[in-house]
């Protein structure tokens, strides 16, 4: 049985459309590499066992837990984080709706929720409240009781369909 190598690897990662070269060991979690090595701290680490959803990012456009992914796996794939979604002065429709409907409090779970629904609302443009609650069940929020998040997602969906100003 051979021992594992600890030596760092040089990885070329495409994150939010930019290429980053990092030197990290194979075992380093994508969540940690995004935060420590690339400086994108919007991806939050809440449990490191795939339950809370705070670290949700997109891999090739589809949501995934960054804490259950090794950065080394991402060579050749496109990673998208919350930082690519909107900026404080140019919120996405979903971010704007979360702001208006008080769909966040401490904000720690919020990036994971935004990233999940930025994808989901493209797959299902006209979800019901029940659909939203089902998808949202993968993102724990300890502050809000979820009600305002559901309202915000439905509002954003309506706006994205052009049905609401």
């Amino acid at each position: 049985m051979s021992a594992p190598t600890q030596d760092p690897l040089t990885l070329s990662l495409s994150v939010n459309g930019e290429t980053h070269e990092v030197r990290v060991p194979a075992r380093k979690l994508l969540s940690d590499v995004l935060r420590d090595d690339i400086g994108l701290t919007g991806t939050h680490v809440g449990c490191e066992h795939g339950v809370c959803g705070a670290c949700t990012i997109l891999i090739d456009g589809r949501p995934a837990r960054a804490c259950l992914t090794f950065a080394v796996q991402m060579e050749g794939h496109e990673v998208t984080t919350i930082e690519a979604v909107g900026r404080p002065d140019t919120l996405s429709a979903l971010q704007q709706a979360l702001h208006e409907e008080h769909g966040l409090q401490c904000g720690f779970c919020t990036p994971g929720i935004v990233v999940t629904f930025e994808h989901y609302l493209r797959e299902n443009t006209n979800p019901t409240a029940e659909d939203v609650r089902d998808v949202l069940s993968g993102n724990l929020c300890r502050c809000t009781g979820y009600q305002n998040i559901v309202v915000a997602v439905l509002k954003a969906a309506a706006r994205m369909r052009g049905e609401l100003a």
């Binding site: 690897l9 075992r27 490191e48 795939g50 959803g53 080394v72 999940t116 089902d134």
Partner: protein, 289 residues
């Protein structure tokens, strides 16, 4: 909660993956969706010296329907299984079970091969595979072999997979009964079920049950298909009496683990209730359609 060190391998082909797995033997662990292995690595409950990433083997992300088989490639993600029209047409029970796995984000990554190899006794896909008599295609150093899902799953997280072997596909025999239901009870949405029931059958011209398949998850160290209950139900009308009789017989037939958290008697009660609900859901779906 950071994983122990490992050497990472990213084979570009199945052959290369098999070679790596053989070379490193028990020190190697294949990595598919990582939704179950990931937490175990982070908690250091699993600490393989070599991790063999299968995600480039995209040829294993496949669905193929023939007259008598739905073949699902091992790397097929739950989200695809839950939404693919060919699954919904040929084996809606499988699609419904896949749609109930974990959460939306988990389903984007998790794979059928991973779920079977992980062998959680409460998981959806092992239950469906056992209930419907699926066959696993396993590739290894000596070529490929096939094994019934029920034989493959040996105990909690214990399967018949030798060094250097990989699941490459799961074959579900077709056709199955046109009535079906997947019923699961968990304390929280998206969690592993305390008990789950998979049911499939047809009704003949007289309305009698034929081709009955009944499986239960969460009541033993592996998902159980219950042939004696199936035999008991064959040829009877799917009425209140039959359903109740089969449900009670099911609850008697199983011997779930007893714990302070979830007593065996409670799992038995759930099994009985869920069997009734499964039959009713199956019948109502047909009659509603």
């Amino acid at each position: 909660m950071k994983p122990a060190p490992f050497t990472y391998h990213r084979p570009a082909s199945l052959a290369e993956a098999l070679t790596l797995l053989l070379r490193h033997g028990p020190a190697a662990k294949p990595l598919a969706g990582g939704q179950s292995l990931g937490p175990m690595l982070n908690m250091r409950l699993a600490r393989p010296a070599h991790l063999v990433d299968l995600n480039d083997l995209i040829e294993l992300d496949s669905l193929r329907v023939t007259e008598d088989t739905l073949e699902v490639g091992a790397l097929t993600r739950h989200h695809r299984l839950a939404n693919a029209p060919e699954v919904q047409r040929s084996l809606p029970l499988l699609g419904a079970a896949a749609a109930s796995i974990g959460h939306y984000t988990i389903r984007q990554r998790g794979t059928i091969g991973g779920s079977l190899a992980h062998a959680d006794p409460a998981a959806q896909l092992p239950l469906i595979a056992v209930t419907l008599g699926a066959t696993l295609v396993i590739s290894g150093p000596d070529g490929s072999r096939e094994i019934a899902a029920a034989d493959f799953l040996q105990s909690i997280m214990t399967v018949d997979l030798r060094d250097g072997e990989l699941i490459t596909a799961v074959r579900f025999p077709l056709p199955v009964g046109d009535l079906w239901a997947y019923e699961a009870f968990s304390r929280r949405h998206g969690d592993f079920a305390l008990v789950s029931v998979a049911l499939s059958f047809s009704r003949d011209a007289e309305g009698k049950i034929v081709a009955l398949r009944l499986g239960l998850g969460g009541v033993d160290t592996v998902p159980l298909r219950l042939p004696e209950i199936e035999a008991r139900g064959q040829g009877r009308l799917a009425d209140e009496n039959t359903i109740r009789d089969l449900a009670i017989a099911t609850a008697t037939a199983i011997a779930p683990e007893d714990s302070e958290q979830v007593p065996a008697v409670y799992r038995r009660e759930l099994a009985e209730t869920l069997v009734v609900r499964a039959f009713k859901a199956a019948v109502n779906r047909e009659e509603g359609a």
